[in-house]
Each structure stands twice: as structure tokens, then as C-alpha cells.
């Protein structure tokens, strides 16, 4: 029984990956833009070769990337290479493969998004739980309201405001880029501190831009849990407030929030892409943006597929881990 459900989920995962790769394959093919011609046309303008040479170069590159084959053939080749996890080579940064580029930018993105997601989840859920808990002090309950209002300010707009107030007005944090101009990346303490300083504002934008929805959903969840019989029972048993809050109330209210986490990662990645680009940080978002600018289509596929697979995989993992957290599901 368990095996069947796991297999079914894996099958669904494969379907999602297939759908994502088909969509990402088709869109640039329908597009009127010719990436090879655009790329070399730019080089030709800067000087060097005649238009006839350009045609030859375009033809040979198209052959190299298989662009002269019929569409169904390209599609089969593409699906085949996706199945082998071969994402191809970048056209813009030629000898580098898409995997190499991904490996270069992944640490930045994962670092930023992981910190932002964890902080947002912890702060938002604690605030939401405290806000719905009838015994918490008045000022603590009121604290949740401004955070709920933050829901109207998505991360990028938060980025604009933080950049204005913190970096431009107060001048206590840098305005953008991965590290101060003029520094050479190394592993010294000074450089690491410099990098971290540059990450504070982007992370804060992501945290403040997403924390509101956690507060709201946790507060709603908390109100429901309070009315449950086992919480009332615990109160009548005379357990102290802290124990009831932690073991009876918070733990149970957190369960649905964990499911929400997988979905939240999806929105976090979306916002992360725009935030990276807004602050001029290296990472997957900037990699995608650079690739789109020059229509480096294999890189575009690679990034989109990678993120889709990562999120879909995460959802399946969360779904499979859920029975470990919730014994009621395990027994059914």
C-alpha cells in the first residue's frame, strides 16, 4: 500500500517534469527570435566579418546545436538529454556547460533563500501562534497586526523601501552587488563579512515580504486548534500555560503549516529571482536574467527545469515526510 502511494507520487513527479520540459522546449521555438543569429549579429556589428561569413557561422552553429533538424527530432533529442540530466552547453559563455554555470550560482541562491525561508517561517509562525493564544499579553497580540499588513508589500517593493531607508538615507548597509567594488573574492574573514553585509538587505526584503502570510495562516490555524477538545482537556488537567502552548497547541497548529512550506518555497524562489536581479547579486535569478537577455536558450531551459524539478521534488519529500510528523495520517 505504502509502496503504491510512493510510486504514484513519483509518477506524478515525472509527469510534472515532462510538462515543464515540454513547455520550456516549445516556447523559444515558437519565438521569432533566432538566438544564434542575434548573438553573432552583435559580434558582426562590433566588426570583424562580412554578412556572408555570418550566414556560414550561423549555419555551422545551428548544426552544432541541432537547430537544423526537424522539430520532433529536436524534441526527442531534448527529452532524451533531460532524462540523462544533460542540460547542454551555454551559447553565450560557450565552453561552459549549463551545469557548471548552475553550480557557480547555486550556492548564492541557496544561501539567501534558505536563510530567508527559515527566518520567515519561524518568525511568522511564532507571531501567529502567540497572536491567537488568548493568554498572551495584549501588546504581543497586537504585534501581529502590522505584520499581517506587510502582506500587501511583496519582497521587491520591500527591497525598494529598505534600499531607500537603510542604504540611501541611513547609509548603514550597502545598496547592492555581491561585495564591495574593488575587492577580490577570497576566504579571508574581512571578505566574508563584506559579503554577508551585502546579503542582509536582500534577505530582509524576502523575510519581511513573506512573513505576513505565515502570521495570518498560523493565527487562523491557532484559533481552530484552541477549540479542540484535547486543548480544553489539558487546561482542565491543570497543566501550566507553557506546556499547553508548546506541546498541545503549537505542535498541532504547525502541522498544516509544514505542508504550506513546500508551496512557500515556490513563491520564495520567484521573489528570489527578482530580488537577486534588483540588488545585482549573483545567483540563479541573475543567471536566468542574463540568459534571457541574449536568448541563451539552453541556459534558460536548464534554470527553469532545475527550479521546477527542485520544487516538485521538495513537495513530494514534504508529502512523504508528513506521516512521520502526523501519526494520524500514518495509521490510515
Amino acid at each position: 500500500m505504502r509502496l503504491v502511494s510512493i510510486l504514484r507520487r513519483l509518477g506524478f513527479l515525472l509527469l510534472v517534469i515532462w510538462a515543464a520540459s515540454t513547455i520550456t522546449f516549445l516556447i523559444p521555438r515558437i519565438s521569432p527570435r533566432n538566438p544564434v543569429r542575434e548573438r553573432f549579429g552583435e559580434l558582426a556589428r562590433m566588426g570583424g566579418f562580412t554578412p556572408t561569413d555570418l550566414d556560414k557561422i550561423v549555419a555551422s552553429f545551428s548544426a552544432k546545436f541541432g537547430l537544423n533538424k526537424p522539430l520532433w527530432r529536436q524534441y526527442l533529442d531534448y527529452i532524451g538529454s533531460v532524462a540523462r540530466l544533460d542540460l547542454g552547453v551555454s551559447m553565450n559563455k560557450f565552453p561552459k556547460t549549463v551545469w557548471q554555470l548552475l553550480m557557480e550560482s547555486l550556492p548564492w541562491t541557496i544561501g539567501l533563500l534558505l536563510v530567508a525561508t527559515v527566518f520567515s517561517f519561524v518568525i511568522g509562525n511564532l507571531l501567529g501562534a502567540v497572536a491567537a493564544w488568548p493568554r498572551s499579553p495584549r501588546w504581543l497580540r497586537g504585534l501581529a497586526t502590522p505584520f499581517v499588513l506587510l502582506m500587501g508589500v511583496p519582497p521587491v517593493l520591500m527591497g525598494v523601501f529598505l534600499m531607500f531607508f537603510v542604504a540611501f538615507r541611513l547609509k548603514i548597509l550597502p545598496m547592492g552587488n555581491a561585495y564591495s567594488i574593488g575587492l577580490i573574492p577570497n576566504w579571508s574573514l574581512g571578505f566574508i563579512i563584506d559579503v554577508l553585509k551585502h546579503q542582509i538587505l536582500p534577505a530582509l526584503s524576502l523575510i519581511l515580504g513573506t512573513v505576513g502570510s505565515w502570521v495570518l495562516s498560523m493565527r487562523g490555524m491557532g484559533v481552530t486548534i484552541q477549540g479542540e477538545d484535547y486543548v480544553l482537556f489539558a487546561e482542565h488537567k491543570g497543566l501550566n500555560g507553557g506546556t499547553i502552548f508548546r506541546d498541545y497547541y503549537l505542535r498541532n497548529a504547525l502541522l498544516p503549516q509544514v505542508t504550506g512550506l513546500a508551496l512557500a518555497v515556490g513563491t520564495m524562489v520567484t521573489s528570489g529571482i527578482v530580488i537577486e536581479q534588483f540588488y545585482g547579486l549573483p545567483g540563479i535569478g541573475s543567471m536566468l536574467y542574463d540568459a534571457i537577455k541574449v536568448n541563451d536558450f539552453l541556459v534558460i531551459y536548464g534554470v527553469v527545469l532545475f527550479i521546477t524539478i527542485a520544487i516538485a521534488l521538495l513537495m513530494v519529500v514534504v508529502e512523504m515526510l508528513y506521516p512521520l510528523l502526523d501519526p494520524r495520517v500514518r495509521q490510515k
Binding site: 506524478f12 509527469l15 510534472v16 510538462a19 515543464a20 513547455i23 520550456t24 516556447i27 523559444p28 515558437i30 519565438s31 521569432p32 527570435r33 499588513l149 502582506m151 500587501g152 508589500v153 511583496p154 521587491v156 517593493l157 525598494v160 523601501f161 534600499m163 531607500f164 542604504a167 540611501f168 545598496m175 484559533v223 515556490g266 524562489v269 520567484t270 529571482i273 527578482v274 536581479q277 534588483f278 536566468l288 536574467y289 534571457i292 537577455k293 536568448n295 534558460i300 534554470v303 527553469v304 527550479i307 521546477t308 520544487i311 516538485a312 513537495m315
Partner: protein, 299 residues
């Protein structure tokens, strides 16, 4: 012969408008959201009637002027008046939102009804497609579509369609689940027994009951359309000629507005966007409460 007791019929029945106002007093988020939306609409409409629209386009006024009496919100690097840009940008944002949101809702309602009411094979296909597409981050696909277009082809309308292309799944699923529960209600069975045909049942029996849900789905769609087009524009994938709010922020950022001290350039579009998204979110929350009274405040 006894005279019948005449009871004076002086019970005041409040009119529909007054009832709506009374409801709004209880549903605070809906009230605030609608008020904010009315103010924004007034700003845009009065603005469109009074300003010179050409000032929202490059080389119209003196560039890089801070806010002053002549230029209320300042001017940007390209010689555009930010106040005019705000008016035109809001207008275009509304256009994208209503176009993409409206079409998305219509598609969602049609697919949701077809799927839930007729069931079977059609339902399996529609539901399957929605479920497979849901885990794919829609924004990424929208980025790919917008990036694949020729820059000259990107207009306000293409933006609306890019946003629409992958945004009908959510309303479809919402309407579908509502129709599924509605279909089992007794009044539908009665209508069926009294010989009403399918179309009659859908439009006369089920649809009126779903109106609050459809309204909520519409506002939700407008919100996500505005949000997605804003994100695309901030990435520089919008129609670059137009003063769309996200485009202004992108342009400001790529000219290093904060770095050069032109703080007013990115700040106004950001504030405008917060007001737009905030009012939509408030209306959406309010409509949710209207549609499912069970969610009504427990406090």
C-alpha cells in the same frame, strides 16, 4: 361583523444600498479595500483627464528634477514627469489587471463548470492538466515567454496575455470544487426533476449562488495578474517604452537612481504599487468572508 385588526405596516425596510453599507461596517477589510480602490480609481481617471499624457514619455520635461511645485513628484533621468508617469502607469496596470483577470475568471468559470457539472472523462482531463501545471512555478514560464518575444512585440496587451496564459488553473479548481458541492444540493435535484435542462440549471440555479465565489476569484485573478506583470516589468521584460509601474522601478534601478541620489524616481511607483496590491488584497479578504460566512471572525 368584526373589523379586521389593522396593524400599521410602518416597519422600515432598508434599501439595498443601506444594507450594503451596513454590511461594509461589519466587514472592515472589504470597506477599507473598496475605499482605497475608489481613491485610486479617482486619481487615475481625474489624472487621465487633466494631465498631458505625453509628459509620461521621454524627453518631455527637464530631466532629474527633485519634487517641487512645478513637478509634484519630480522628473526622471529620461525627462519624464513622474506624476504623469504614475497616472498613465496606474491606468495601464488597471488595464492589464482587468483584462487578464477578467478573461482568466471567464475561462476558469467555464472550465470549472464543464469539469464539475459533466464530470467523467472531461473532468479527468481538465483536473489532470490543472494538477500537473500547479507545481510548476508559473512565473518562470511567464519569464520564458516574455523573454522569447521580440522586444518590439511587447505591449500592454501582450503583457496581459502572457500573464493570462498560465493563470486560469486556480479559478478553474476553485469553481470546480464549488460546483461539485452545489450539484448535490436539493434545489438542483428539484430543478432536475421539474424538467429543467442543463443550461437552465447552470445559469438559473447554480450560477447565482456562486456569484460571491466568482467575484472573489475575479479579484484574486486581478491581484495575481497585476503582481505577475509587475514582477516581469521589474525584471525589464515589460514593454520598455511604457511607464508601467514595474518598468519605472527597473529603469530607475538600471540607471542607479539611489546611487546617484534620485531617490524620488523608484519610490513613487513602489508606493503606488503597494496601494494597488494592498487594496486588492483587502477586497479579496473581505470577499472571502462574504463568500464563506463560516470563515467570519471568531473574535
Amino acid at each position: 361583523m368584526s373589523t379586521p385588526l389593522v396593524v400599521s405596516q410602518e416597519v422600515l425596510v432598508p434599501g439595498g444600498f443601506e444594507l450594503a453599507l451596513r454590511y461594509l461596517r461589519r466587514n472592515k477589510s472589504l470597506a477599507v479595500g473598496i475605499l482605497l480602490m475608489l481613491l485610486l480609481t479617482a486619481f487615475t481617471v481625474i489624472g487621465m483627464l487633466t494631465i498631458d499624457v505625453s509628459h509620461a514619455y521621454p524627453l518631455a520635461v527637464r530631466p532629474k528634477q527633485p519634487p517641487s511645485m512645478t513637478y509634484l513628484l519630480g522628473t526622471d533621468f529620461f525627462g519624464r514627469d513622474l506624476f504623469s508617469e504614475m497616472v498613465v502607469g496606474m491606468w495601464q496596470t488597471a488595464l492589464i489587471g482587468i483584462l487578464a483577470g477578467g478573461l482568466g475568471t471567464v475561462i476558469g468559470v467555464i472550465l470549472g463548470f464543464v469539469s464539475a457539472y459533466f464530470g467523467g472523462f472531461v473532468d479527468a482531463i481538465i483536473k489532470g492538466i490543472c494538477q500537473i501545471l500547479t507545481p510548476i512555478p508559473v512565473f518562470l514560464i511567464q519569464v520564458v515567454i516574455a523573454g522569447s518575444l521580440d522586444k518590439r512585440d511587447v505591449t500592454i496587451y501582450t503583457m496581459a496575455f502572457i500573464v493570462l496564459a498560465l493563470a486560469w488553473m486556480w479559478p478553474t479548481l476553485v469553481i470546480r470544487s464549488q460546483v461539485l458541492t452545489m450539484k448535490e444540493r436539493q434545489f438542483v435535484a428539484v430543478a432536475k426533476l421539474s424538467g429543467r435542462n442543463d443550461l437552465g440549471i447552470i445559469f438559473a440555479e447554480i450560477m447565482p449562488n456562486l456569484l460571491p465565489f466568482i467575484a472573489a476569484a475575479f479579484v484574486g485573478q486581478v491581484f495575481s495578474a497585476v503582481f505577475a506583470s509587475f514582477y516581469l516589468a521589474v525584471l525589464g521584460l515589460g514593454p520598455l517604452r511604457e511607464p508601467l509601474l514595474g518598468n519605472i522601478i527597473w529603469a530607475a534601478q538600471s540607471q542607479g537612481a539611489f546611487f546617484n541620489g534620485w531617490w524620488w524616481w523608484p519610490i513613487w511607483p513602489a508606493i503606488a504599487m503597494v496601494l494597488v496590491l494592498g487594496s486588492l488584497a483587502l477586497i479579496n479578504m473581505g470577499l472571502d468572508e462574504l463568500a464563506n460566512p463560516r470563515v467570519r471572525k471568531t473574535e
